[in-house]
């Protein structure tokens, strides 16, 4: 569904991504793991059209989307749940969700998607008229995910969805992602929680210093000595 081929990305003079390639099949969870500063967020932002790659191509559903601006990429059905949740703090939960449905593809399906999101996260319905900044961390993450789903995406990129959440809530979030994938959504999951994300994913990639050093199925990577040493402390 998504095909990233040999992209180079620079932030000023510093190279963030070096010949990175990635393949995300339809209805799968693909995990990208790596240390801080390895380029995971750069990769997500580049796919989302927020950075322009210096070279290489990005294809989505057999269409070249390299260099398209972010609002056009979103409108093709690529959503993202950005790192740190990024809800609009002074706007209400309902307003936050409405912001997710601003893009053209989602406008007509607003009522249906809202119903779906509220059914998935009943807590959000309870707090619909509450300012998003007053929600707990876990609720804000639910809101961020719900807001993204309001955009009617076919592929969602999750950037560190469990960051800063209580362990019990982390389980909720990951279960949500698994349920979404089972419901037909294609997911890219960037997680510091390597063991869990690789177990969840059908395919994983290891990103180190801007390069893809390893790839394979989730189980293969979990069994790989280098992964076990570097990320699982075994």
């Amino acid at each position: 569904m998504l095909l990233v081929h040999d992209i180079d990305v620079f932030h000023g003079d510093a190279q963030a991504l070096d010949k990175v390639s990635l393949e995300v099949p339809e209805r799968c969870i693909v995990a990208i793991v790596g240390a801080n500063g390895a380029g995971k967020t750069s990769l997500i932002r580049t796919i989302a059209g927020m950075h322009r790659p210096a070279s290489g191509t990005i294809r989505f559903k057999d269409r070249d989307i390299t260099g398209l601006p972010s609002h056009e990429v979103c409108d093709l059905g690529i959503g993202q749940v950005a790192e740190g949740r990024q809800v609009f703090p002074t706007l209400t939960v309902a307003e936050n969700l409405a912001m997710g449905a601003m893009i053209q593809r989602a406008r007509g399906h607003r009522a249906r998607n809202l119903e779906r999101v509220y059914a998935m996260f009943p807590r959000l319905l309870e707090r619909a008229s509450q300012a998003a900044g007053t929600l707990s961390g876990g609720e804000q993450q639910m809101l961020a995910i719900g807001r993204c789903l309001m955009g009617e995406p076919e592929l969602v990129m999750f950037d560190e969805p469990s960051l800063g959440l209580a362990p019990a809530v982390v389980q909720d979030v990951l279960r949500t992602i698994r349920d979404l994938a089972e419901g037909g959504l294609t997911c890219v999951l960037v997680e510091q929680n390597v063991a869990v994300s690789l177990r969840l994913a059908s395919r994983g990639y290891v990103l180190e210093n801007g390069r893809m050093t390893l790839s394979g199925t989730g189980e293969e990577l979990l069994a790989d000595d280098r992964v076990r040493k570097a990320y699982l402390g075994m």
């Binding site: 989302a48 927020m50 601006p69 972010s70 609002h71 990429v73 979103c74 409108d75 959503g79 993202q80 950005a82 990024q86 809800v87 609009f88 703090p89 002074t90 706007l91 209400t92 307003e95 409405a98 912001m99 997710g100 601003m102 893009i103 008229s129 807001r147 993204c148 955009g151």
Partner: protein, 339 residues
């Protein structure tokens, strides 16, 4: 959507008590002139005028989060275009409003494009707006066709002239400015509930998150500058005909830019009632102070109201940093503005 359903929706969604308050206010203001003398009429003109430009500025800052400290630019441009077309070509300001608005929009678009295209944000964007106002002031200072630094004057026609050409006394300007204030309020209320208004709020709250949701941040910001500059230019035309004179050193002055933004800040940034409330509080106090100082000192001391505004701003930030309207709204039991 036709205007009637739009209006019905506005009435439907706005807090009821706030609407009652507003209706009473407008009704009182419509009949008030019977009890007002010329001086008070002109004070009310200033209140309405500052509420209007405050509302316009609030579109950029309060809704979209873009700080402009050069809004006098659009007042001056609107004023000059309207005045020059009337004096030199005999074109009625009722028509000249169109080119006046277009010129201001072009300047707004230029500033916006430079700022937003090249990622100039926050304070640096504010500096850009100041720079544009200053450069334009210098340009008009040296442009002899419009009188240069010596100013440009609109002759006061004998017998008052006709209302459609904005030639008349304080009563005419009272009603014109009242209409502007009401129109600005209705426009902003409609915008806030529109898709564009939602995009502005998203950009104000978190531009990165807005981008991640597929909102075209550049276009939203451009729309904010253009709408804001257009609304300000209309007020600028009216102000020029009210004053009947234009000086570059006043029209494009940063002091005026600052004075314009005080009402929305003190009333409540990003709220619809804030600019109106702020103007109703600040302008009468400022005018009273000017009159008082003149009486005590025996002569007018220019800028004394600005000193007062500065003090008011400091007190405000201390006690109600979000502005008076959010505080008052809570006291009156008016629920949050829903969108």
């Amino acid at each position: 959507m036709n205007p009637f359903t739009l209006l019905a929706r506005l009435v439907d969604e706005a807090p009821r008590r706030a609407l009652v308050l507003l209706a009473v206010l407008v009704a009182v203001l419509l009949v008030a002139p019977v009890a007002l003398d010329r001086y008070l009429l002109s004070v009310f003109f200033l209140i309405f005028w500052f509420a209007t430009v405050g509302q316009a500025w609030n579109v950029m800052m309060g809704l979209c989060g873009q700080l402009s400290l050069g809004h006098a630019l659009y007042v001056g441009l609107g004023g000059y275009v309207g005045a020059v077309l009337w004096v030199k070509f005999g074109i009625s300001p009722a028509i000249a409003i169109v080119p006046a608005v277009l010129v201001a929009m072009a300047f707004g678009a230029a500033i916006g494009w430079l700022g937003f295209r090249f990622g100039i944000e926050g304070v640096y964007f504010a500096l850009l707006t100041i720079a544009f106002a200053e450069v334009t002031r210098i340009g008009f200072d040296n442009w002899s066709y419009v009188g240069g630094a010596a100013g440009f004057f609109i002759p006061v026609t004998a017998g008052g002239g006709s209302a459609i050409n904005l030639r008349g006394g304080p009563l005419l300007f009272y009603y014109v400015a009242l209409a502007l204030m009401v129109a600005a309020f209705v426009i902003c209320a409609a915008l806030r509930r529109s898709r564009l208004g939602h995009a502005w709020l998203a950009v104000r709250e978190d531009p990165e998150a807005a981008r991640a949701l597929g909102i075209n941040v550049f276009r939203a910001k451009m729309a904010a500058v253009i709408v804001s500059s257009a609304m300000t230019a209309v007020a600028g035309v009216v102000y020029a005909f009210y004053q009947s004179n234009l000086f570059p050193s006043q029209s494009f002055d940063i002091a005026r830019s600052i004075e314009m933004i005080l009402a929305p800040i003190i009333g409540g940034l990003g709220t619809l009632f804030g600019p109106i409330l702020g103007a109703f509080i600040l302008t009468p106090l400022g005018q009273t102070l000017i009159a008082l100082v003149e009486k005590i000192a025996g002569r007018a001391i220019p800028g004394v109201n600005l000193v007062f505004y500065g003090a008011a701003l400091m007190v405000m930030i201390w006690f109600a940093p979000n502005g008076i309207w959010p505080w008052l709204k809570k006291k009156l039991g008016i629920p949050e503005e829903r969108s």
